[in-house]
């Protein structure tokens, strides 16, 4: 019996380049439970984005399995993966997160619309979620009329509104100042715990690990260390570990 929302087995992604074969992701096996918020960290070029793309059903691994809700993403064709992305996965990206010509609430509703599930309840839930994220006054603003932090919060609402099993965030705080970054990650963590999703955040900023349950550290494509213990994580956050 599989108790994990997400489980990978020996996921490898290799790229052919002029200087030879690069293992961008190298035999990574990991598990994330529902209600668990995990950070993926590591130096530049360690394979974080590549790993996230594979988990997001955007990229097919060269080998290995990616089991989401009991289904192997690695074995799916593009059409099936598109369907997984809109049903089971929620996203926030580093930049250009929102559709620029849709208002905050339209951006959130788009996720339900894509799934053919935009009804009265859905519209109400979208507004409620945005209100919870402190955007009650911004429902009808276009992305261009909102600050980076506000946009990131709209993106979080969009990533959660359709009740996905897996929520992924790529550098959600990259364009924010520290204070706002903390706020955004804290809210994000709160929602993931409360709504019982599996959450994975890629980040450069170790301070953001304060709100996560586990930290997965990558180097040269490999998963080199997992921090589960809260004290260990806090040491990492405070910069006491390498």
């Amino acid at each position: 019996m599989n108790t994990y929302a997400l489980e990978t087995e020996n996921v490898t992604k290799t790229y052919q380049s002029e200087s030879g074969v690069i293992n961008a992701v190298d035999e990574v096996s990991l598990q994330v439970k529902l209600g668990e918020f995990v950070a993926l960290v590591g130096p530049s070029g360690s394979g974080k984005t590549t790993m996230l793309s594979i988990l997001a059903a955007l990229l097919k691994p060269t080998s290995g399995k990616v089991i989401l809700d009991g289904q192997d993403l690695a074995a799916m064709n593009e059409v099936e993966r598109v369907s997984m992305r809109r049903n089971k996965i929620g996203f926030t990206f580093q930049a250009n997160n929102l559709v620029p010509y849709l208002s905050a609430v339209e951006n959130v509703e788009l996720m339900l619309r894509l799934n053919g599930r935009l009804d009265k309840t859905g519209k109400m839930r979208s507004r409620e979620l945005l209100a919870r994220l402190g955007l009650a006054e911004r429902l009808h603003n276009l992305p261009g009329q909102m600050s980076g932090g506000q946009q990131q919060r709209v993106a979080i609402a969009r990533a959660m509104i359709h009740n996905p099993s897996l929520v992924l965030a790529d550098e959600p705080t990259a364009s924010l100042d520290t204070e706002r970054a903390y706020q955004v990650v804290e809210t994000f963590a709160g929602l993931i715990h409360e709504q019982n999703r599996a959450g994975i955040m890629v980040t450069h900023d170790l301070r953001m690990c304060e709100y996560v349950d586990r930290v997965l550290q990558m180097r040269d494509g490999k998963l080199v260390k997992i921090y589960t213990n809260k004290t260990e994580i806090m040491d990492l956050v405070k910069g006491k570990t390498n």
Binding site: V82, R85, F93, Q94, A95, N96, L98, R113, L114, L142
Partner: protein, 389 residues
């Protein structure tokens, strides 16, 4: 499928609405192209019509020319005995002589004289246009005239009025007064308004050189032939050529193509219209291509969150179609407004078929020119959302 339409329509229209000034600008460019294309088409129709109107409205199927006249009406000469000979050919229902010439219509007061086509026809025979007001011509010799609607519009002449024509006889200008008995619909010939006189009257008053003045034998330019059965046109045409000396025949279509300048003019205008459409393709195609290039990340995000490719493609097509339709509608309306302000002397005719063809062509250039950008949109990788290729 319905859901794809709903989502792509939603995305396409929202984007247009939220960027309406930019899209309107493109629509306006399309509107100007539409205006241009419709006017070129109307000009082609107007000029072509001014050239061929009389011939194309003839109640005859064949035109008999003097042999080797290259279907040039003014260059052809046929004497009276040809008329009788052609009439005897099996399958011929009626024949009528046609003489063409130019004359100047002298108008009362300070009004500028009007150049008209002076056409000699045989009253009661094919070639005489049906009047919409007044009466047909009475005899072959009468001092009567039927004017066409164009002449009437430009001169205010009415049934019952007398008109004065000036023609050159040898070296002398002569004036002739004729009574208007009827007005026919538009019957322009050689881009001039037309007046119709009985054949022998025509022979008397048409401009003549010194040598022609004393020629006692009236000569027509061509003979119009009406068939008993228009379906037998080939057989009858062959019979005429074999049984009557020194004639060649043309269908109305051939005759029109052979009118001086007609084909050259039409193909020039068609080329201009086609070229304008081509510019339209480039403008619309260019705009949407640039817009897609600017939207790569945004389309990447849409795909990453699970928007299917058909939805993205359809949204792109819907946008192009909407922008084109709005542009063509504005352009059509502008054309209509402009057309109201044109005097009847401007050879611009909005013919239903030609306009419809132009509009369809204009509506097609949008999707056609958008093929490239739509293809591009479909090929954008969702990984672009993560800033990866």
């Amino acid at each position: 499928m319905k859901q794809i339409f709903e989502i792509s329509g939603f995305l396409a229209l929202k984007e247009i609405w939220r960027n309406r000034s930019r899209f309107l600008l493109v629509s306006l460019v399309i509107a100007l192209i539409t205006l241009l294309v419709l006017f070129i088409a109307a000009l082609g129709e107007g000029l072509g019509n001014g050239n061929r109107e009389y011939i194309s409205k003839l109640d005859a199927q064949l035109i008999a020319y003097q042999s080797k006249s290259d279907y040039l009406i003014a260059a052809s000469r046929l004497s009276k005995d040809r008329v009788a000979a052609i009439r005897r050919v099996d399958g011929v229902a009626d024949v009528g002589m046609l003489g063409t010439a130019n004359a100047t219509l002298i108008l009362p007061g300070d009004v500028k004289p009007l150049k008209v086509a002076l056409l000699g026809i045989q009253p009661g025979h094919t070639g005489e246009p049906a009047v919409v007001q007044g009466q047909q011509l009475s005899t072959d010799l009468a001092d009567e005239v039927i004017i066409d609607k164009n002449t009437a519009l430009r001169t205010d002449l009415k049934v019952g009025d007398n008109l004065t024509l000036r023609t050159t006889q040898g070296t002398q200008d002569e004036f002739y007064t004729l009574r208007i008995v009827g007005i026919a619909d538009g019957q322009q010939y050689s881009l001039q308004p037309s007046i119709f006189v009985p054949f022998y009257t025509w022979d008397r008053i048409k401009p003549k050189s010194e040598a022609e003045i004393n020629n006692p034998n009236p000569v027509a330019n061509v003979i119009l032939v009406k068939l008993k059965d228009p379906a037998k046109i080939n057989e009858v045409s062959a019979s005429i050529v074999s049984q009557v000396n020194n004639v060649e025949t043309a269908t109305l279509k051939q005759a029109i193509q052979a009118l001086p300048g007609y084909s050259a003019q039409q193909s020039t205008l068609n080329l201009q219209g086609g070229f304008t459409l081509f510019i339209g393709v480039l403008v619309i195609g260019g705009f949407f291509q640039i817009q897609i290039l600017q939207k790569v990340a945004q389309i990447g995000v849409l795909k990453a969150i699970g928007t299917a490719n058909p939805t993205v493609a359809l949204a792109s097509i819907i946008q192009i179609v909407v922008v084109t339709m709005v542009g063509v509608a504005i352009g059509g309306f502008l054309t209509f407004l402009f057309s109201l302000s044109f005097p009847p002397t401007v050879p611009i005719v909005f013919n239903g078929t030609t306009t419809a063809i132009a509009v369809i062509a204009l509506l097609l250039i949008g999707p056609l020119s958008g093929l490239v950008s739509t293809r591009y949109a479909v090929r954008i990788e969702p990984l672009k959302a993560l800033g990866l290729s």
